[in-house]
Amino acid sequence: MTTPTTDIATDRNVRPVSDNRRKILEATMKRFQYQGDALIEVLHKAQELYGFLSPELLSEVAQRLRLPPSRVYGVATFYHFFSLVPQGEHSCTVCLGTACYVRGAAHLLHDLETLSGVKAGHTSSDGRFSLLTARCLGACGIAPAVVLDGEVIGHADCSDLTARIQKLLGREE
């Protein structure tokens, strides 16, 4: 991995004016006394601040926690929660667990793909919307379940969901 540049975020998330995300991340690492075993907490914080884990960000974390970059990269790619690519501003995660599947999750996903024009696991070209899938969210009692911007929606229905997504994207029809 390359040496970090002056600003650890080099993507479109960059907010040069009054960007104190780095300070917050530093404070988190300090709270854990820069211990390597806090890596997962630190990555959680980093992703919360920056939206995703860029190579530069991972490299920075590796240096500060005195861990080999391979270890940090390994952990960041092992856990599904961490994303190494930017996510859309809004996201919709469709659960494809067994209980959701038998209650029609596959059709729901298919319909959402068709309606949004975004393939599962991808983000729209304008970076505004990601359509994601999950392997059992533990919401089997309200199957099919989706998570729309962090909110769990049970008994998901395609037309209702599409309306909510349109509203989020400011494209009310």
Binding site: A38, I40, Y79, T98, G141
Partner: protein
Amino acid sequence: MGLTEHIVMRELDIPDISDFAVYRRHGGWEAYRYALTEKTPADIVQMVKDSGLRGRGGAGFPTGVKWGFLPKGVYPRYLLCNCDESEPGTFNNHQIIDKNPHQLIEGVALSAYAIEANVAYIYMRGEFAAAARTLERAIAQAYEAGFLGKNILGTGFDLDIYVHRGAGAYICGEETALMESLEGKIGQPRLKPPFPAVAGLYGKPTIINNVETLANVPRIVEKGVAWYRSHGTEKSPGTKCFSLSGHVNRPGNYELPFGVPLRELIESPEYGGGMKGGRPVKIIIPGGASAPWLTADHLDIPLDYESLAAAGSMLGSGGVIVLNDTVSAPYVAYKMDEFFKHESCGKCTPCREGTHWLVRTLHRMVEEGHATAADIDTLHSIYRQMAGNCFCLLGESAVMPIKSALQLFPHEFEALVKRSSSRNGHQIPLIVRH
């Protein structure tokens, strides 16, 4: 109906039970206070041993016996609470935490006292961000009230409880993988022995218990062994929170004493309320995705560890998925093994390669409509090579869906082959619209 008194989910209906003061008013934290001031740790271990409490995470190992494996005089010790709840079809742990976090925290604190641990970690599944916040708030209240921290209630007992968020990996529900993850590493399982009780977290003696198991402990201490054993069966005392899902009218969490027939859980208007649209039961997966399948012939089996084991399945996590006759058995096996392939940690070859080839073969058969008789032999061959050869239980679990499907519904695989040859390999829709 109130077949039985609830033990774990007893207070979920009380408004604001998640608040310390409300929980305390309903007798909460009293078992803990009693234990600390009037009982020795050994007394509590003996009580839990006598109660016959068995681990609710899946294996059903007697909790008190597990606690007894700690080597004498070796400190520090750690208590880990496994709330990684990721088994497909299982969703009771986070309901317990969402609604009544203090019951779990009291259980953790009481168990930590019993095993003489001064630090306890609650490992939360990464997706349970809201539940983690609920727990943290409740823990802060317990510190404020003097039930956690230094020199608790003037007894000299110190205890700190930390909540750790996972980051989305099914394998971290495996106890040694959970410890690796807690140490900030990739969640791959460790070789056993040494067992966690001897060398666990940071190489120290560690006890790891499931949320539901620990939530039982305050009630055992409060009401006594005889009361606890008056619920359930001789070998499986107490109750179990079953997570019911699939084609039933009323999916949800239901706490039942062990030994209630499966039929009652599915059909009673108090619980499952029967099958949706009155369709017949085809497949029952009684203990999360890792449990071998049952069929409608098994509806009268009592739900306890021994009876399900005798029927060739397992009680597992208590996640009961009921499927009706509209589902295709090969397709369900395909979807479930896709989960295991996705979650395989990659450490051992039989699991990593086995799940990959199972899914690849099944994908071709059920999704693409190219199935040959040789594929059926291949599936048999793959799962036989996996069974008993995987490093941990994830790989062994991945065997269950395909083995069950092949054994219980061989004709459906044969039909795939037949249709494939007659239609010259065109895709056959196997998904039934509801």
